[in-house]
Amino acid sequence: MEFFRIHKDIPFMKHALVFNVISLVTFVLAVFFLATKGLHFSVEFTGGTLMEVSYSEPPNLEKLRESLAKEGYQDAQVQNFGSARDVLIRLPNRDGMETGKVSEKVMANLATLEGPKAEMRRVEFVGPQVGKELASDGAMALLLVIGGIVAYLAMRFEWRFAVSAIIANLHDVIIILGFFALFQWEFSLPVLAATLAVLGYSVNESVVVFDRVRETFKKKRGLSTPEVLDHAITSTISRTIITHGSTQAMVLSMLLFGGETLYYFSLALTIGICFGIYSSVLVASPLVMWLGVSREQFMQVKKDKEEAVV
C-alpha cells in the first residue's frame, strides 16, 4: 500500500496567504469565545466540592435539590451524568463555612431521603487557596514550555524557525481553549495537561518539516525558498498523515473507552492533533518564509556545527 502518490511538489506556499487567513479567523473566533463566554473551570481551579453518587435506581433529582436547599445548600448544582442512576453534585466554597466537611453533611442529608440509598463514588474538595495556585502554576508551565522550545529550536535551527513554530503552535492552544469556551466543556487539570502535551506534540510536527527544510536547503541548490518549503512539506506529508492517524487512533480509543475522566482530556487532544497538523505545516512554514529564511543562514551554521549536519 502507498497512500500518497505525489508526482510533483504541491505548491503549498502559493496559497500561504489563504491558509494564514483561515487560521487567523479561527484564532480570532477562539479569542472571541474565550473573552465572551470564558472557560468553564472545573472544581480544581475554582475551589468547591464535587461529589459523585450512584443509586441502584434513578433518583428524583428535584427532591435531591429540595432536600439540599433545606440544609442550606441553595447553590448546589445537581445533575445526572453518565446514566440516570449517577448524580453529580457541585457546591461552591463559601466563606465562614467549614468547607472541608461539606461532603459528609451532604451524604448525611442524602441518607435521610426516602427511596434508594446513595453510594458515594467520588468526592473532590478543593480549598480556595489551591485553585489560585493551580492557575498560576499552569501559566508558569506554559511559559516554561514556550521558553524551552524557543531556546532549543533557536539553538538547533535558527531563530526564525523557533519563532514561527511557537506562534503556530500557541495558536493551536488558543483554538483548543476556544473550543472549550464555545461549548462550555469542563476545563480540568487533565485538560490542561493535554493542552500542554499538544503544544509539545505539534512543535514536534513543525520540527519534522523544518528538518526537511534545512536538509533541502543544503542538498538541492537552485531552488527558491518557497520551492524548498513546498518540497519539504510534500516529502513529509505521508509521514505527517500516518503519524497523526496513529496518534489519533490511540486518542480515539481513549475517547471511546476512557470514560468520563478521560473524555475531555482526549477531546482536547483530538482538537489539538487536527489543528496541530494544519498549523505546523501550513502556518509555521509560511511564517518562516515571511521572516526571511534563506540558504545562506544554513551555510553559516554548517561551519559552526559540523556534527549537526545530516
Binding site: M1, E2, R5, H7, E44, G100, K101, S103, E104, E119, M120, R121, R122, V123, F125, V126, G127, Q129, L134, G138, A141, L144, V145, G148, I149, Y152, R156, L189, P190, A193, L196, A197, G200, Y201, V203, N204, V207, V208, E215, R239, I242, T243, S246, T247, A249, M250, V251, L252, S253, M254, L256, F257, G258, G259, T261, L262, F265, S266, A308, V310
Partner: protein, 619 residues
C-alpha cells in the same frame, strides 16, 4: 553492512529481559493479606520475632497462610481468600493487642502481590497504583506557619524575660507585637547592655534599636534562618503526629509526605470511613503548659471582668474557670510521649509524660521556682483553649519524666494521655484539598484505562502491519517493547500510576510510533530514489535520527514543564509522559534497528525489502 556488533545485540537483549522481569509482577494480581505494624512511635518492630508471633497465633487459631513476609516496618501474611483473611485478622489482633483500648500494634487488611518470592527479592514489585485506581482518600493539609512562628515568639518573650532577669538588666516590659518582640527600656545604658546579653544568648534574633517616645526599645525579629528552621521543625513534627494519629485508623499503607514548604499530603488507600479519618486528622489541637495564677481574689475579679494583666481565663473540662498566665512555659513540641499508667507507690491512676532535653531543662527550672503552685496543661483546639489538667507541683522535677496523678480514674488517665499526645502538633493545620474515590470506581478506572490502551494499540498494530508489512511488524514489536520498558521502569521506580498516568501511557505509545513512521518513510524514499535495499536501511535510520531526536526533545520540554509545575493528576501524567519519551527513543531506534539487522543484515544479495509497496513516479 547492516549488522550490529555482538555487544549491542546483547545489550538490547539484556535490556528487554530486564524489562520483562520487572514487568512480570504486574501480571500476577493481588491476594488478600493481613499486615502487622507498630502502632506506637516508641515501639520498634522486631521483624523476625513478630513474624514468629504471627505464625504462632495463626497456628493456634488453626488458620493456614500462604506465606509470611517482613520488612523493616511491618510483617505481612498472605491468605487464600477474604474469609480466611478476616478470620486471621481477628486472631492476630487478639494475640497482639490484648488490651483493645490501647493497641500497641496496627493490624490492617491489605492486598499483596501474588508474584513469586524471587521476584520480590530482586525488588520487582507491581506498579504502585494511585488512589483513583485503588480507591481511598487523599488529603492536602496546609500547616499554619504564621501560627508556628507566633508561638515561638511567645516562648521567646518568656525566655528573654528570664535571660534579662538573670543578667540583672532592667527593662520596662517585653511584649510580642505581631511577628516581633518589643523590649522597652528607661535608659540607653540598659538598652546597650541588653543588646549585648541577648546577642550572647541567642543567634536566632535580629535586633533593631529604636526610640518610642521617652522610652528606648529593642525590636527583635526572628532571623530568616531561624524562621526557616521553625517551619521545617513544625512540618516534621506535624508529620510525625499525623503518623501516630493515622495508626489509629489501621490503614495498611498510608502515605504522609511533605509537599512544598508548608503542606502535607496524606493518602489513605482503601479507607471508606472518610468522616472518621477527617475527624482524626482534623484535631487541630496544640498543647501548652502555663502557670496558674492562684493569687487570692484574682480569679473572682477576673470572672467579674477585671482580668489582671498578663493572664487569661480558661475553663477546665468540668467547666470551672481558672486564671492562667499568658506566658507559655512549654509547648506540646517539647512533649515526646504521654502514657496512662499508675503511680509506683500509691497505685493511683496517673499520666506519665516524657519531655525532650530542652523541655526537661525548662521544666526543672520552673518546678524548682514554683513548688506548691499549680501549673495548667492547656489543649488549644480551633482557637479555643481548655485546661486538661492543673496539677500542683510537689517538688523539683528533673530528667524530663513527669507524672501527673491524683483523683483520676484510670479511664480519665487514658483520655488525658490521648489528648496530650494528640496535642503535640507544632502548628495548626487545615484540610485544603480532598479527593475520595470509592473502590468500585477505582476498579472501573483501571479497566477503562486498560481498554483504551489495548484497543488503541491493536488499531495501530493492524495498520502498521498492513501498510509497512514486515517493517510495520518490526515497528509494532518496537512499540510493544516500549510499553514493556515503560511499565518495567514505572514498577522499578514505584512511581504512582494514576488514570491520567494510564492516559499518558496510551498517548506516549500513540506518539512513539512517529519515530518508526519517520524511519519507514525514509527507507521507502531512499528506495524510491534508487538506493539498494541495504543502503536504504542504513540511510533511512541515519537520516531519521536527527528528526527523531529534535522532535522528542521538544516533546520532553513540555513534559518536564508539566512535571515541574504540575500537581496531582497532572504530575502523574507528566512522570509517565517523560519516562515514555525516553523509553521510546531506545525502542524505536535501537530495538527496531536490531530486529531489522537480524532479519536483513546478513543477506548479501537482497533485492527487495518487505516494507509495502514503494511507488515510484512514472511507473
Amino acid at each position: 553492512m547492516n549488522r550490529y556488533p555482538l555487544w549491542k545485540n546483547l545489550l538490547i537483549g539484556l535490556v528487554l529481559l530486564w524489562g520483562l522481569i520487572y514487568t512480570l509482577p504486574n501480571f500476577y494480581g493481588e491476594v488478600p493479606a493481613v499486615q502487622v505494624s507498630s502502632g506506637k512511635a516508641t515501639l520498634k518492630l522486631d521483624a523476625s520475632a513478630t513474624q514468629k508471633r504471627v505464625e504462632e497465633s495463626l497456628a493456634a487459631a488453626g488458620i493456614q497462610h500462604d506465606g509470611l513476609f517482613s520488612d523493616l516496618n511491618s510483617v505481612r501474611a498472605r491468605f487464600r481468600d477474604t474469609d480466611t483473611q478476616l478470620k486471621a485478622k481477628d486472631a492476630i489482633e487478639k494475640a497482639f493487642n490484648p488490651d483493645a483500648a490501647d493497641p500497641s500494634y496496627v493490624v490492617a487488611l491489605n492486598l499483596l502481590s501474588a508474584s513469586p518470592q524471587w521476584l520480590t527479592n530482586i525488588g520487582a514489585l507491581p506498579m504502585y497504583l494511585g488512589l483513583d485506581l485503588r480507591g481511598g482518600v487523599h488529603f492536602l493539609l496546609q500547616v499554619d506557619m504564621k501560627g508556628a512562628v507566633t508561638k515561638r515568639l511567645d516562648a521567646t518573650t518568656g525566655d528573654l524575660r528570664t535571660l534579662l532577669r538573670d543578667k540583672n538588666v532592667r527593662h520596662a516590659g517585653i511584649t510580642r507585637e505581631n511577628q516581633t518582640v518589643v523590649i522597652k527600656f528607661r535608659d540607653t545604658e540598659s538598652q546597650t547592655r541588653a543588646r549585648a546579653v541577648i546577642t550572647a544568648g541567642t543567634n536566632d534574633l535580629q535586633l533593631v534599636e529604636g526610640q518610642d517616645g521617652a522610652d528606648f526599645k529593642i525590636t527583635a525579629t526572628l532571623t530568616p534562618l531561624a524562621q526557616k528552621s521553625i517551619q521545617e521543625f513544625a512540618l516534621k513534627q506535624n508529620i510525625t503526629t499525623l503518623h501516630n494519629r493515622i495508626n489509629e485508623l489501621g490503614v495498611a499503607e498510608p502515605v504522609i509526605q511533605q509537599q512544598g514548604v508548608d503542606r502535607i499530603v496524606v493518602q489513605l488507600p482503601g479507607v471508606q470511613d472518610v468522616a472518621k479519618a477527617k475527624d482524626i486528622l482534623g484535631r487541630t489541637a496544640t498543647l501548652e503548659i502555663r502557670m496558674v495564677d492562684d493569687t487570692p481574689g484574682a480569679l473572682e475579679a477576673a470572672v467579674g471582668g477585671a482580668i489582671p494583666p498578663g493572664t487569661e481565663v480558661y475553663n477546665d473540662r468540668e467547666g470551672r474557670p481558672l486564671l492562667v498566665k499568658k506566658q507559655v512555659v512549654l509547648t506540646g513540641e517539647r512533649l515526646t510521649d504521654a502514657q496512662p499508667g499508675f503511680d509506683g507507690q500509691t497505685h493511683e491512676a496517673a499520666v506519665h509524660l516524657t519531655l525532650d532535653s530542652a523541655g526537661a531543662r525548662i521544666f526543672k527550672d520552673v518546678t524548682r521556682e514554683n513548688i506548691n503552685k499549680r501549673m495548667a496543661i492547656l489543649l488549644i483546639e480551633k482557637g479555643k483553649g481548655e485546661v486538661v489538667t492543673a496539677p500542683v507541683i510537689r517538688g523539683e522535677i528533673g530528667g524530663g519524666r513527669v507524672q501527673i496523678s491524683g483523683k483520676m480514674s484510670s479511664e480519665e488517665a487514658t483520655d488525658t494521655a490521648l489528648l496530650l499526645r494528640a496535642g503535640s502538633l507544632a502548628a495548626p493545620m487545615e484540610i485544603i484539598e480532598e479527593r475520595t474515590i470509592g473502590p468500585s470506581l477505582g476498579a472501573e478506572n483501571i479497566s477503562k484505562g486498560f481498554h483504551s490502551t489495548l484497543w488503541g494499540f491493536v488499531a495501530i498494530g493492524i495498520f502498521m502491519c498492513a501498510y509497512y508489512m514486515l517493517f510495520g511488524f518490526v515497528s509494532v514489536v518496537a512499540l510493544a517493547s516500549n510499553l514493556l520498558l515503560l511499565i518495567a521502569l514505572l514498577s522499578l521506580l514505584q512511581a504512582t500510576l494514576t488514570l491520567p498516568g494510564i492516559a499518558a501511557i496510551a498517548l506516549t505509545l500513540g506518539m512513539a510510533i512517529d519515530a518508526n513512521v519517520l524511519i519507514n518513510e525514509r527507507i521507502r524514499e531512499e528506495l524510491r530514489n534508487g538506493s539498494s535495499p541495504q543502503a536504504a536501511i542504513t540511510a533511512g535510520y541515519d537520516r531519521a535520527f536527527d528528526t527523531i531526536l529534535d522532535s522528542n526533545v521538544t516533546t520532553l520540554i513540555a513534559g518536564v514543564a508539566l512535571l515541574v509545575f504540575g500537581s496531582g493528576p497532572v504530575r502523574g501524567f507528566a512522570v509517565v509522559h517523560c519516562l515514555g519519551i525516553l523509553t521510546s527513543m531506545f525502542s524505536a531506534i535501537l530495538v527496531s534497528r536490531g530486529l531489522v539487522n537480524l532479519i536483513y543484515g546478513k543477506k548479501r544479495k537482497l533485492d527487495k525489502l518487505s516494507i509495502g509497496q514503494v511507488w515510484k513516479p512514472g511507473n
